[in-house]
């Protein structure tokens, strides 16, 4: 049992509101990933849960008990700090063993745990070094190691893999997932900027939004299963944030709408989309969104000139200048034979189009793009 419940959390630094109206439940054993633009308050939220900062308002419950007044040590939480916060005067071994010494574990048990963690984090040869003599990625791994040896009720990981190379990152990610499973009902809150990580690890993604405008809207933009956020973003912010390269947006005007879908026009071209715009007035402004990977290149009614190409080995991204708007559309080409300057034909499949109203809220999509893997499989 280590459900984490946040109720109406507010946090301000001086006069700056950073977090507002956060209501969130992380179930026992759940793997919850926080994502959001830099500076939106992810680390701050972790610190509130850990008890390192006080919320300006609101309650934090762990295991059903209100812990607002509980010291960090009493919350049985382990945290990987974004800045590592290693003990500079202790060896790697001692950095990891330090927390264990307070748990009244036997000497052997401590040693076993530390060595196991070091092994899985590829730190074994470095156990006697001090942090000052480690590379950035090695330091980060020590920080991870220090958290995982504790085996607490709640893990808080703040961008724990950001300085690791791709292959180590995958291995560590798998290790963390394994550990999470092994510990059974430990809850995990994990901050990352790597969407692959977020998508593959998360049971639930929480997308936070910066409160720059301080407009009284809550901090959480959307909570849900990763694919839910990918397929059914609730608004333009979520749609634009999830996916890389991000969704193309096209300003358009609504021509007509009915139960089967809508038609709108952009740059004089009319585009059908499978969304329910019946609530909107005709001619109202909407924004169309389509992900680069959903643009079908090679045939179709639309034309675009390749202004820039990014090659990524397996595939590439073409920047297409079209009549639809001023910003080029990014389209994914698998092993493109395109060259800069070429004109490509393409289409924007209606079921793939997202439509947002003037306020940026998504219109209901008419074809389900379901979120759960099970649903996906039947798709």
């Amino acid at each position: 049992m280590c459900q984490i419940r946040l109720e109406n959390i507010q946090k301000r630094f001086g006069d700056n509101p950073i977090l507002a109206d956060i209501d969130l439940t992380v179930e026992a054993g759940e793997f919850c990933v926080f994502i959001g633009p830099s500076g939106c308050g992810k680390s701050t939220l972790l610190r509130l849960i850990a008890g390192l900062d006080d919320a300006s308002a609101g309650d934090i419950h762990i295991d059903g008990a209100r812990v607002n007044d509980l010291a960090p040590a009493k919350r049985d939480v382990a945290m990987v700090f974004q800045s590592y916060a290693l003990y500079p005067h202790m060896t790697v071994y001692d950095n990891m063993a330090f927390g264990l010494r307070h748990l009244k574990l036997g000497h052997d048990e401590i040693d076993r745990r530390v060595r196991a963690a070091a092994e899985s984090l590829h730190l074994a040869p470095l156990l006697e070094r001090k942090p000052g003599a480690l590379s950035g990625g090695q330091r980060q791994r020590v920080a991870i190691g220090r958290a995982i040896v504790r085996q607490p009720k709640v893990f808080l990981f703040d961008e724990p893999l950001s300085n690791l190379d791709a292959s180590l990152r995958v291995k560590t990610r798998v290790e963390i997932a394994r550990l999470h499973r092994a510990l059974g009902r430990a809850s995990m809150i994990y901050v990352t900027h790597d969407q692959v990580e977020a998508m593959t690890l998360a049971d639930k993604i929480v997308l936070l939004k910066p409160l720059a405008g301080q407009d009284g809207v809550p901090s959480i933009a959307q909570v849900g299963h990763p694919l839910e956020l990918y397929h059914n973003p609730r608004n333009r912010f979520v749609a634009g944030f999830i996916g890389s390269p991000s969704m193309n947006f096209i300003d358009a005007a609504l021509l007509n709408a009915n139960a089967e879908g809508l038609v709108c026009s952009a740059g004089g071209i009319s585009l059908p989309a499978a969304a329910d715009a019946t609530g909107l007035a005709s001619a109202s402004t909407v924004t169309l969104g389509i992900r680069p990977e959903h643009i079908v290149v090679g045939s179709g009614p639309l034309k675009g000139r390749v202004s820039h190409l990014e090659h990524l080995g397996e595939h590439s991204y073409a920047y297409l200048e079209t009549a639809l708007g001023t910003t080029p559309l990014v389209a994914k080409l698998s092993e493109s034979s395109a060259q800069i300057g070429d004109t490509l034909t393409f289409s924007l499949p209606a079921p793939r189009l997202h439509v947002f109203d003037g306020a940026g809220d998504a219109l209901p999509r008419l074809q389900r793009h379901d979120a759960t893997p099970a649903a996906l499989a039947t798709h």
Partner: protein, 314 residues
């Protein structure tokens, strides 16, 4: 306004997380300060209170039991400390002394600290050597300087004469024009190591990656010093200066040994001791001590206010 008062008096959630976690941390803070406070109050509280009380009486050291309460007469009366021109002479001397010696010590201490911080094989020895003046008991070193500065058989005069820098031996400690300077110089000699060592410690705590960043940025050394080192060690320098100022304002041994009770160089502490011990005027002397305390407190507080303003304004 009423509603506001109401809400702040009875907030919706009576114990917000903030206050409670914070409060337990504050409780712990008090617990941690307690030993220091208890020790200080126990050993210093009583004597200080006694001094304050005595300063309001006409007590004599030879017979404290017959003292009478005289109010502020020791301070402001016709025969009060504040009416004594000698007190004001001592105040002037002390202030000048503190100002000169502390500023010289700070500058020199900084320079010596930088020198000690320079990587070199001599580092260890230099550190020990530089600390020697601080290590010699004041009474001894004051006497030693008196001896060395002696006009007849002092080595200083002998050397200066030999070097042709002076033509006649100087009466360093006797000549009213020279005595004050001499005392300042000896004090600087003695306490520069104090400054230097503390500043050295502060220098060592400056994060090294800042220096690397500045190096790559092509920042010249003087600018690194002015804009990185100095601001980062300022708090430590300020504390060192506070303690030096405190000591300088209470300077006693040095002046007492080197020039005795001469009015030219008499400091407030010498005055206090004279009244309190030599003249046995426990009441009057305590009043002088209290005035000295008040003056130091005033200077310290305004100094810190100034320092804070400077640091924040920066």
């Amino acid at each position: 306004m009423t509603s506001q008062t109401l809400t702040s008096a009875a907030p919706a959630r009576p114990s917000t997380a903030e206050s409670s976690l914070q409060r337990s941390r504050q409780r712990m803070a008090w617990l941690l300060v307690a030993p220091a406070l208890v020790v200080l109050l126990a050993i210093a509280g009583l004597p200080l209170a006694r001094t304050l009380w005595l300063s309001l009486t006409d007590a004599q050291l030879s017979d404290l039991s017959t003292r009478q309460f005289v109010g502020l007469a020791n301070y402001i009366g016709d025969a009060g400390v504040l009416a004594d021109p000698e007190w004001w002479g001592a105040v002037k001397n002390t202030l000048w002394f503190s100002l000169l010696s502390v500023s010289l010590e700070t500058v020199l201490g900084l320079a010596v600290a930088l020198m000690l911080n320079h990587p070199s094989r001599l580092k260890t020895l230099l550190r020990a050597a530089v600390l020697v003046p601080w290590a010699i008991p004041t009474v001894v070193s004051a006497k030693m300087w008196t001896w060395m500065l002696h006009d007849q058989f002092g080595v200083i005069n002998a050397m200066l004469l030999a070097l042709g820098l002076i033509h006649q031996p100087l009466a360093w400690t006797a000549d009213p024009d020279l005595a004050f300077t001499t005392i300042v110089l000896v004090d600087v000699w003695k306490t520069t190591p104090f400054m230097a060592l503390l500043i050295l410690a502060a220098l060592q705590m400056v994060p090294s990656d800042c220096y690397e960043a500045a190096k790559v940025d092509g920042v010249p050394k003087w600018s690194v010093f002015l804009n990185i080192t100095l601001p980062l060690i300022t708090p430590a320098v300020l504390v060192a200066m506070i303690f030096r100022t405190l000591d300088a304002l209470r300077v006693f041994d040095l002046i007492y040994v080197m020039t005795s009770n001469s009015r030219t160089t008499k400091s407030m502490s010498v005055y206090v001791r004279e009244q309190l011990i030599d003249f046995q005027l426990a009441g009057y002397g305590s009043a002088a001590a209290t005035l000295l305390f008040l003056m130091i407190a005033l200077i310290t507080v305004s100094y810190m206010a100034l320092a804070r303003r400077r640091m924040e304004g920066h």
